[in-house]
Point group: C2
Chain length 399, copies 2
C-alpha cells in the first residue's frame, strides 16, 4: 500500500524490539501451549454476579450518562472514592483533584512520559523492569539508564553512583520509574530501609520518582511495606491500576499527584483518548462502593498464593539444581536465574516448539538487552491443574 506509511517516524525503529517480543508471545497463544508467559489475572477472580449487579445499577440509574462523554480527569464520584481509599491505604491526605482516572496503568505511564519528556532526556529505571515501561520511554526518545536490584530492592549505593555520574555529565534524570512491591518481572519487594534510602537520595538529587503500584495490594506473606508516595508525598507520582484489583478488561487505572500535575496529564489526555471510558468508570464505582474491591482483593490473594506455592513446589521438583529463584511475597511472577552461559531467548523458542510451553525470556526486561540468563514465569493465569505439567515441560527444556 502507501509508501508513506512505510517511511515512518524514527520512533518506530526504537520500538522494533517490542514487536519481536509480541510476535513470540503470539506463538504462545496456540491452545496446545501451556503458557506461563502472560501476566493476565486468573479468570476465576472475577465475581461475575456481583459485577453484573453493579452494571444493572448503572443501567437503571445512569445509563444515558454512562454512554456519553465524561469529564477529562475522570468520573467525579470515582475520583472521590479513589482519593479516599488511596488516602486511607497509603496514609496520605488526598482529594479528588489529586486523582486522574486513566485508561489503565500503561496510559498513566504514557501520560507521565508525554508531559515530562523531551527527546534525549534521561530516565532512570530498575534493571530489570517492566518491559512496557521501557517501550513507553523509548516512544518519547528517552535515554534510559538503569540501576540494578538485589533481593532487598534497588541498590542505593549503585543509585547514588549513577546519580553522581549523571550529574557530572549534565544528564540529570527527568524521572526515575520504579516498582517497589512484587516487581514485574523479578517479584522482588524493596525493604522499608531501602525505600527510605532511595526516597532520600531522590530528594537530595531532585529527581522525581514515579512509583508503579500495580501489584502492591496482592500481598501473600508478611507485612505490606509503605509506598514511596507515603514516605515522600511531594516527590513521588503514584500510578495504580484496576487491572489486578478488579479486571483489566475495563482498562482503568489512576495517577495520584499534585493538582497542577494532574491538570497537565489531563491536558495530554485530551489528545490520547479525551477521557477514560465512562461506562466502565461507573461500573467500577458502583462495585467499589459496595465494598467489593476489597473483598475481591482478599479472595484473589487466596487464589494466587496457592498457585504461587504450587508453582514453586513444581519448580523444586522439576528444575535443575543450577537454576535459582526467590519466592515472591506477592504479585504474579517468579523470576528465574539460569547459569551464565544459557540463552533464555533460544530456550523459549525450543520450549514453544518442542514442549508446547512458554515463558518470557529475560532480555526484554533490561534496557540494554542484557539478562539472557533469566526468565520470567507467571503463575497468575495458568489453570491450577496445569501448573505442574507446565513447569515439568520448562524443566525438560532447562535440563
Amino acid at each position: 500500500m502507501a509508501i508513506q506509511t512505510t517511511d515512518r517516524a524514527r520512533r518506530m525503529k526504537r520500538l522494533a524490539s517490542s514487536r519481536a517480543v509480541t510476535d513470540i508471545l503470539r506463538l504462545a497463544e496456540n491452545p496446545d501451549v501451556i503458557s506461563l508467559a502472560g501476566g493476565l489475572p486468573d479468570p476465576s477472580v472475577f465475581p461475575l454476579d456481583r459485577i453484573r449487579e453493579s452494571m444493572d445499577r448503572v443501567w437503571r440509574d445512569q445509563g444515558r450518562e454512562a454512554l456519553n462523554y465524561g469529564p477529562n480527569p475522570g468520573f467525579s464520584k470515582l475520583r472521590d472514592w479513589i482519593a479516599e481509599r488511596t488516602g486511607r491505604n497509603e496514609t496520605l491526605d488526598l482529594e479528588s483533584d489529586d486523582i486522574l482516572v486513566t485508561s489503565g496503568g500503561v496510559e498513566a505511564l504514557n501520560l507521565v512520559a508525554m508531559s515530562l519528556l523531551d527527546e534525549d532526556d534521561t530516565v532512570l529505571v530498575e534493571a530489570p523492569t517492566y518491559m512496557v515501561a521501557l517501550h513507553v520511554f523509548r516512544a518519547y526518545g528517552a535515554r534510559i539508564e538503569a540501576v540494578p536490584i538485589d533481593d532487598e530492592g534497588l541498590d542505593p549505593d549503585a543509585l547514588d553512583s549513577k546519580l553522581r555520574e549523571l550529574d557530572r555529565v549534565g544528564r540529570k534524570p527527568r524521572l526515575m520509574y520504579v516498582i517497589p512491591s512484587y516487581q514485574n518481572p523479578s517479584g522482588r519487594t524493596w525493604t522499608e530501609g531501602r525505600r527510605r534510602k532511595v526516597v532520600e537520595l531522590a530528594h537530595t538529587h531532585d529527581v522525581l520518582l514515579v512509583e508503579d503500584h500495580a501489584y502492591a495490594e496482592l500481598t501473600y506473606d508478611g507485612p505490606r511495606p509503605p509506598s514511596l508516595k507515603s514516605l515522600s508525598p511531594e516527590n513521588v507520582v503514584l500510578i495504580h491500576t484496576f487491572s489486578k484489583i478488579f479486571g483489566p478488561g475495563v482498562r482503568l487505572g489512576w495517577v495520584v499527584a499534585e493538582p497542577f500535575f494532574i491538570g497537565q496529564l489531563g491536558l495530554c489526555k485530551l489528545g490520547t483518548d479525551q477521557c477514560a471510558n465512562t461506562l466502565a468508570q461507573r461500573l467500577v464505582y458502583e462495585y467499589a462502593i459496595q465494598g467489593q474491591i476489597d473483598a475481591q482483593v482478599a479472595a484473589s490473594i487466596q487464589i494466587y498464593r496457592r498457585k504461587r506455592d504450587l508453582m514453586e513446589a513444581a519448580m523444586k521438583k522439576h528444575f535443575p539444581r543450577e537454576t535459582a529463584w526467590a519466592l515472591p511475597s506477592g504479585g504474579f511472577f517468579i523470576w528465574v536465574r539460569l547459569p551464565e552461559h544459557v540463552d533464555s531467548e533460544a530456550l523459549l523458542l525450543r520450549a514453544i516448539d518442542e514442549q508446547k510451553t512458554a515463558f518470557v525470556a529475560g532480555p526484554p526486561f533490561f534496557h540494554d538487552g542484557s539478562g539472557k540468563n533469566f526468565l520470567r514465569l507467571s503463575f497468575s493465569f495458568v489453570p491450577e491443574a496445569m501448573i505442574e505439567e507446565g513447569i515439568a515441560r520448562v524443566g525438560k527444556v532447562l535440563a
Copy 2:
C-alpha cells in the same frame, strides 16, 4: 509540590492553548447555562433496553473474557464485523487485518501521529479543522500548514499551491488530515468533484491522506458522497468512531489501513493503553450483530435533522442580518460567520456571563489562531425545547 513536574517538557507549552479552551468550556458546564458548545450526542439516541440486552449476553456467555485483557489490535469478532460493514458501506475489499480497534477516534489519530511524525515534520490540515486534531499534531511537535475550505470543500487550487510551495522548501508533508463529510466545525461536505481532485493531488505529490469519518454516517439531506478511502484505497488511512453511531462512553473507534501499518499502530498502542477496553468491545459487538447500529443511526438521523432545522429556524428569527451560515447536510454543527471586526472570544465570555449561554469561538479551530469572526454552534446535545431560547440568547449577544 515537586518542582520537577513544573519544569516540564517543551510539549506542554505547545498544548497551552488547548488548556485555555477547556477552561472556558468548563464555565459552560454550569447548570444555568444553555450550552451550544460541546459536540456530545443527544442522550435520547441511546436505546437503553437494546444495549442492556446486549450487555446481558456478554455476561451470560463471555463475562470472564470480557473482564480480562484482549488482543492488542482488538477483539477479533469485532474486527471481522467492522471489516465487513466498512467494506460494504465504502465499497472496499477489507479483512480483519486491515482494522485496528482504538480507544475512540482521537486515539486513532494519536496513534497515526505517533507512528508517522518526528518533531518538525509538516502536517497539512483544513482551515478550519477539528481542534483536538491540532492538539494531537502539536503534541508531536509537527509544523502545521493549512489549506482553506469553501462551500464545496477543500480548495484544490490552494492545495496545489501549498504542496508546490512546501516541495520547493523541502518540507513535503508527512500526512494531510481532513474531514470531508459534515466537518467539525464548519459543517461543510466536500463535493464528489473536490474529493476526486484532492485524492489525485495527494497521489501526485505522494502525500498520505488521513480521513476522519466521524460524522459521515449522519446524513440529513441529499446523497452521501464517497469516502476518499473508496476513491483511493492505497493512499488513504480511514479513521472512524463508535461515538456517533453507538455512544462515546465506550471510547471505541477504529482505523482502516493496510495490515503493515495496522501492525505499526498496534505497536504504538502497546505503549498507550495496550488494547481497547474488552468489555465495551464485546458489548458493541453483541449489539452490532443484531443490526442495532444501523437502526440507531437511522433513528439518530431523525432526531438530529429535526434539531438542526429547529436551530436554523431560530437563527433566522434571532440572529442579526450581518451573520451568515450554510445549512449543514449532516453532522452536529452550524458554523457562523460574523462581521470581520467581531471578536468571537470576547463574545463568548459575554455570552456566558450576561446571557448564560455558550458556543465555541472560532480561533481554536485554526492552526494559526485566526478565525476570530467565526463561531461554532452545536445542535446535538441541547434539549430540543431549549434550542430557541439558547439561540435567542446568542442573538442578543450578537446584536
